[in-house]
Assembly symmetry: C2
Homo-oligomer: 272 residues x 2
DNA sequence: TCAAAAGTGTTCAGCATACACCCATGT
DNA sequence: ACATGGGTGTATGCTGAACACTTTTGA
């Protein structure tokens, strides 16, 4: 049924890679706040010379997340404040008629790049989200999806906070949210909602930007388990005395379940 | 740094597979409504004889989602009403010191199996969620994660509706939600909230279960874009006249962007 | 004292909760 | 008539939206 003969098949094991959509705030030529992201220029066919998401193949002794970090470090020295698995792409349109080409895509938020701490090499350049070049593969679609995820999550304090610096005023945070959504947000209500989340801590420092009242400077402090990462979730689960679901009301401690993460061999998991 | 010599490395290309957590409603021995899921018995080392999630390797001309459907069909002839990518697992604990073992996991909801339409072969068996056998690899943790996802989403009408049959009464839907969460839910408010979503359609049929007033029978009708699947999302995006983000207000149609999904070569995406 | 941004108060609408109540049906 | 589950009404409280208002600062 498959296209390609046996020798081709042998030469083409599953093509699996990790890519990262890295997002940071910056200003466009008019001074308006925009999302920027680094792209790398391809030095091989196909799409030679086109721009693409940073990424790489899987390597030994490196988890998927570590591979994502490696891709991050290849394009920026900014410390990522947020890294989350986005989606794994593997539809038929990406393959060459053989095994599917699989891209495990992460998205990352890095702090505002006021220091322009960019690796502006020949083959790496930052682009504003609204003025992207022609992109290789389906990377344009992947970026659009990552931007959509950001826009649907920007209302959460942790996401917004990680797009600005270590510390920030509520006005700065508010500006970020408005820049990302493109919609005006009532500052008074924003302030109350964010503070009510309990995820911001007043540093006691005041900061002035103009000839007017100085603003309180806040710091983000992680709330209990807002993570969507299953590993974080599993880790929390392991802390319990039994293997039951957090929502169940069972309280009788049982023997410890086996370690959650052990070896796997998914290729042979299906008994036939 | 890596363990294993070159020949081992050559014999072990990236191990990538697709697994599925398939969930259906059934009753336990006491008649209580429970979630059941099918497992397959391993016929190979490691974990020979242990139970594991249905799954398989990637094959030519089959997308990830199609591989998930294939795994589904190997254990049940029930038609899946819901199939969504859950997460891609690939931490170091799953590998044997070499390339990471990657499992792209989907979760599926199938209708209540009143017909016991189970493939109860020797190597396939359904288990209630609260009485699972010893599981291979980290599959117990993956199942726990899928159950958590279900419990956090069960409040949405589409998820609950897809756990019951094609048509159902509001009481039946309500029972499902209570069975999954384990919490009592006020029926009157549940009814209003669900109907207010506009995702249920009255079939006009009435159904009686006891010696009392018959209940209205409803059918689920998909609302506009509640999908978390990026491909659904991208498809909607392609319907637009330009390549801009749905939230932007730009209205000037430009030339059609190139097709969103084309070939990919993630292994060489990183230019060095 | 004025402008400008920081920060607070107040009203209103919507929606979920809790729970009392009425309705339809077979025995 | 009555038991049983289907279905509705209603008071209460919380939360976000809208927007008027007060406070703090430098010039």
């Amino acid at each position: 049924m498959g296209i390609g003969n046996v020798s081709e098949r042998r030469l083409a094991p599953p093509q699996v890679g990790v890519s990262v959509v890295i997002l940071a705030l910056g200003e466009d030529s008019t001074g308006r706040s925009r999302l920027w992201l680094p792209l790398v220029r391809r030095v091989r066919q196909p799409f030679l010379g086109a721009w693409a998401l940073p990424g790489g193949g899987l390597t030994a002794n490196r988890s998927l997340e570590q591979s994502a970090y490696a891709a991050l470090e290849s394009t920026t020295t900014l410390h990522p404040r947020y890294l989350e698995q986005l989606y794994t792409f593997g539809d038929l349109g990406r393959s060459h008629g053989g095994l599917p080409m699989v891209s495990i895509v992460y998205w990352a938020l890095v702090g505002t790049a006021e220091a322009k701490d960019f690796v502006e090499a020949d083959n790496v350049r930052w682009f504003p989200e609204n003025d992207l070049p022609e992109l290789a593969f389906d990377h344009k679609a992947i970026i659009d999806y990552a931007l959509w995820r950001l826009r649907t999550r920007i209302a959460y304090p942790d996401v917004a906070a990680r797009l600005v610096g270590e510390t920030f005023t509520l006005s700065q945070l508010h500006d970020v949210v408005e820049a990302v959504t493109g919609e005006p947000v009532d500052l008074a209500n924003f302030r109350r909602r964010i503070l009510a989340s309990g995820e911001l801590e007043d540093t006691g420092v005041k900061q002035r930007v103009g000839n007017h009242r100085p603003a309180a400077v806040y710091r983000y402090v992680a709330a209990a388990s807002t993570s969507w990462n299953p590993y974080d979730w599993l880790k929390a689960d392991e802390g319990r005395t039994d293997g039951e679901h957090p929502d169940t009301t069972g309280t009788i401690p049982g023997p410890d379940p086996p370690p959650a993460s052990v070896d796997d061999d998914p290729m042979s998991a299906l008994a036939r």
